[in-house]
Amino acid sequence: MTTTKTFTYSHTIGFLTAVGRGFTNPVDLAFNSQGVIYVLNRAGPETTVRLPSKRVSMCTIDEEFLGEWGTGGQGDGEFWWPSSIAIDSLDQVYVADEGLQRVSIFDKGGKFLSQWGVKGSADGQLEYPSSIAFDADDNLWLTDSGNHRVQKFTKDGQLISAWGQRGSGPGQFQGPWGLALTEAGDVYVSDWGNDRIQRYSADGVLIEEFDGLPEGDAIHRPAGLAVDDDGNMYVADWGNEKVKVLGPNGSLLATLRGESVDSKWAADYFAVNPEEGQLRSEADLFPELDPPVRREREISAGVEGYFWGPSAVKLDRQGRLYVADSLRHRLQVYQVN
C-alpha cells in the first residue's frame, strides 16, 4: 500500500546542558503510559567531570521538564555507555548499557530496582547491547550488537530465544543496532554494518530484507527504527545524517534532513542573555555548504538545524515522530499527517 502521509516539522525539545533541564547526547527515548517522555543521555567521554551528564531526563511533548535521575559510573544503577531505554506495562524503566553489558531496571521515578546481564558470547550473555524493546507479552527483545544477534528475554533476564550470527547473508548481522516490534509480532532490525533493514517473524524466521534503494537514496549504517501500524518503516539513517521513511515494501516514501529551530529551553536562555541572543539571531545558521566536497556528516557539523548523529526514531500514540538528534542534544518532533 502507498502511504499518503506527509511530515511537518513541529518543534524541538531540549538543548545542551551538562545536568539539569536539557540533554547531553540523547541516544534514545521512550514513553510511559502517562505520556512522560524518558530521554536517555549517553554523554562522554568518560572523564570524572562528564559522568554526571549520563542520566535519564523526563519531560513532556510540550517541553515541560519533569526531572532527571541517574549518573555515570559502574556501580549498581549507574551508566557507562547507556544505549537504549524501554518501558514495560507497569511503567518500569529499563536501560541497556553497552559499556557494562547489562540491563538496569528502575521504577518510574528512577529508583534503582535491579539489573541483569553477563558479558560474553554464550546464549543469554551480552556484548554491546544496543537496542531494547518490549513486546505485547512484556518480554524484552535486544540487539546484541557485539555478538551479531537478536535475543529475547523475560523482563527479569531469563533467555527465551536467540538467533543470528556475524555475516552479510540472509539471517546474518553485522553489528545490529535498532529494533522495532509490531502488534502482529514481527521483529524489524537495523543491520547496521550491512546497510539494510531485516524483518523477521517472532520466532526468528527471516521474512524479507530491505536494501534495494538506488544509490543516492540508499541507507547507510542504519541506527534506530520504528514501524507504524501500516508497516511503514522510519529509519534513523545514521550514516547519511537523515531519517528515511520506507513503505512496507521498502520503497522510499520520504527523506527528512532535520530543520530544527531553538527549543523553548534554548529560547529561555537567550531571553535572559539578550546580547548573545541578538548575535545569534543575526548569524546565518543555515549556510549553503558545498556537498560535493563534504560528507553529509561534515555538512551536519556546519548547519545547526540538520540532524547530526540521529540515533533513535520513535512514534507516540498520536503517531508523532520523534528523532533523537544525539550530537545536537535535542529531539526533533514531526507531525505526521
Binding site: 567521554p45 572523564t47 550514516g239 531553538d262 548575535l279 547530526w308
Partner: protein, 467 residues
C-alpha cells in the same frame, strides 16, 4: 650479527610512521625498500581508516564537543591508520603551524585543521599555505578575523613569514605590514557570534557549529602594496605565490623536514640537498620526502636512533606494537593523558612556536612517565600484539637461554638494534630467569610473564625511547 636490511626498514618505519612489528617489517622486506618508500609517500593508495565503529560507540568522537575527544580521535587514527605517513605529516604540520585548543575553545576546529594537513600535507607547500590561510582555526588562532581593511592586525601576517615559511631575517617590518594588509577580509562566517561562543563556552544550545572560511571583499584592502621587492595590488594568494618561490622558504622547509624526519642535529649538506629538491619540485613535499628517504643522508646508520621519540610517537608506537585500541575503548583517554604528562598535549601546543623537541622531551619527570607508560601498555598480556609476540616465540622453539630470548624479543619489538652495553644489561636481566621454557604446560604462564617483563625492560632502553 645485526640484520642491516631489516634495521634500515625499521628506521624508515619509525621515522615515516610510528614503528612496525616484525611481521610488518618482513612484509616490507619482501616488497623492497624503494617500493616501501613509494607506498609510504602515496598514502592515498592504502585504504582509509573506517571510523564508523568508533563514532558509533563513542559519539563525541564525531561532534568533538570536548577536548578529550579531539585527542582521543587522533590517537585512534594514528594507531589504526593504514597510512602512517599521512598521520606523521599531519603531526609535523601541527607542530609547525601550532594551533592550540586553549585559545579556540573549539575542539572540532583543531581536529578539522588536522584533516586539512592530511589532505594537503604531502602536496605542494604553496597549496598548504593557501589551505592554512583559509583554515578557520588558524584564522581564529592568529586573529585574522580581526584583520580589517581600516584596522589591520599583523599577527597572522607576521607568523606566516617568521614561523611558517621563511624565518626571521628574510623580510622587513614593512613586508609584515603589507602581508597583513593582503590578508584583510579573510575571516570566518558569523565571526561575532562565534567569538562570543568561544569566549563563553558554557551554552551551545545545539552543540558546536563548524567554523567556515569566508572572504569579504568589502573588508579587503584593495590598494597597492610593496612586498619583498615587488609592487602590486596584492591579495593573500599573491603573497603566497611570492613566499613559496623564495629561496629562504626552500631552506626553511628543508631544515624543518630534516629535523623532524632525520636528526635533531642539523646537517647543512643534507638540508641543502633537500632545499634543492624543493626548488626542483616547486615545493612538492611528497617529492622532497621521497628523495630524502632514498638518500644516504637518511639511510646512514649515523642517524639511526638519533632522535628522541616525541611523546606522541612513543605512546602511539607502543600501542600499535601491543595491538591496543583497535576497537572502541573508553580508556583511550589515558593514552592521550600519558602523552600530556610527557610534555606533549597534542592539539594544544604551548605556544605558536609549537613544542621544543629533541632532548628537551626528556627530563627526570618525563623519563619516568615514558618508561612507566610503555611498561603499562606492553605489560598487558591480553593485548593481541603482546599475544602475537608470545605466540611467535613459542613457535620458534620451546626453550630459550637468556641471550637468545633477548635477541628474539629485540626482533619482535620491531627490529630494535641496541648497543653492546645495553644488550649485555638485557641479558643480565634475562639471566635472572635462567632458561625460559614453554613446556611443560604448567610452565607456560610463568614464562609468558617473564617474557613480558623483559619486553617492559626493552621498552625502557635508550634505543627504544629513541627513533
Amino acid at each position: 650479527m645485526a640484520d642491516k636490511e631489516l634495521g634500515l626498514l625499521a628506521h624508515l618505519m619509525r621515522r615515516a610512521g610510528f614503528g612496525a612489528t616484525l611481521q610488518e617489517l618482513e612484509e616490507s622486506r619482501a616488497q623492497g625498500y624503494e617500493a616501501t618508500v613509494d607506498a609510504l609517500v602515496h598514502p592515498e593508495d592504502a585504504s582509509d581508516w573506517d571510523d564508523d565503529l568508533f563514532r558509533r560507540y563513542q559519539p563525541d568522537l564525531n561532534s568533538v564537543m570536548y577536548f578529550e575527544s579531539a585527542q582521543n580521535y587522533w590517537m585512534y587514527k594514528m594507531i589504526n591508520s593504514k597510512r602512517p605517513l599521512e598521520e606523521k605529516i599531519a603531526l609535523f604540520w601541527h607542530g609547525l603551524f601550532a594551533t592550540a585548543y586553549g585559545k579556540l575553545n573549539h575542539a572540532k576546529g583543531v581536529v578539522n585543521q588536522t584533516d586539512t594537513f592530511r589532505r594537503h600535507g604531502l602536496g605542494p607547500f604553496h597549496s598548504i599555505l593557501m589551505e592554512l590561510s583559509r583554515d578557520p582555526a588558524m584564522i581564529f588562532w592568529l586573529d585574522n578575523k580581526d584583520n580589517h581593511k581600516y584596522a589591520p592586525n599583523e599577527n597572522y601576517g607576521r607568523e606566516l613569514l617568521e614561523l611558517f615559511s621563511m624565518g626571521i631575517g628574510n623580510y622587513t617590518e614593512d613586508d609584515v605590514k603589507n602581508c597583513a594588509r593582503a590578508f584583510t577580509g579573510w575571516t570566518i562566517a558569523n565571526d561575532e557570534y562565534m567569538s562570543v561562543r568561544a569566549s563563553r563556552d558554557s551554552i551551545w544550545p545545539s552543540g558546536r557549529i563548524d567554523w567556515q572560511f569566508e572572504y569579504r571583499p568589502e573588508d579587503h584592502d584593495d590598494t597597492e602594496k610593496r612586498f619583498l621587492g615587488r609592487t602590486g595590488n596584492f591579495n593573500g594568494e599573491d603573497i603566497i605565490d611570492i613566499i613559496a618561490m623564495r629561496p629562504a622558504t626552500s631552506w626553511f622547509i628543508a631544515g624543518k623536514l630534516y629535523n623532524y624526519f632525520v636528526s635533531d642535529t642539523p646537517n647543512e649538506e643534507a638540508i641543502s640537498f633537500l632545499a634543492e629538491e624543493y626548488r626542483k619540485s616547486s615545493g612538492d613535499i611528497r617529492s622532497m620526502l621521497r628523495a630524502l628517504f632514498l638518500s644516504d643522508y637518511f639511510k646512514s646508520e649515523d642517524v639511526w636512533y638519533a632522535k628522541v621519540k616525541s611523546p606522541t610517537e612513543l605512546v602511539v608506537g607502543t600501542a600499535r606494537l601491543a595491538g591496543s585500541f583497535t576497537t572502541p575503548q573508553w580508556d583511550i583517554t589515558n593514552l592521550a593523558s600519558d602523552a600530556n604528562f610527557m610534555g606533549q598535549e597534542i592539539l594544544n601546543p604551548p605556544t605558536v612556536e609549537g613544542w621544543h623537541t629533541g632532548t628537551e622531551w626528556v627530563d627526570t619527570g618525563t623519563l619516568v612517565e615514558r618508561v612507566n607508560s610503555s611498561a603499562l601498555i606492553i605489560g598487558d598480556t591480553l593485548q593481541p600484539g603482546v599475544q602475537a609476540m608470545i605466540k611467535s616465540l613459542k613457535a620458534r622453539r620451546d626453550t630459550y637461554q637468556p641471550n637468545d630470548l633477548v635477541d628474539e624479543c629485540l626482533l619482535l619489538v620491531g627490529g630494535l638494534q641496541v648497543s653492546e652495553g645495553t644488550h649485555q644489561r638485557l641479558v643480565e636481566f634475562a639471566a635472572n630467569y635462567g632458561e625460559v621454557s614453554f613446556t611443560p604446560e604448567d610452565a607456560v604462564s610463568c614464562s609468558e610473564q617473564q617474557v613480558v617483563e623483559l619486553l617492559q625492560v626493552i621498552l625502557a632502553t635508550r634505543e627504544y625511547q629513541m627513533a
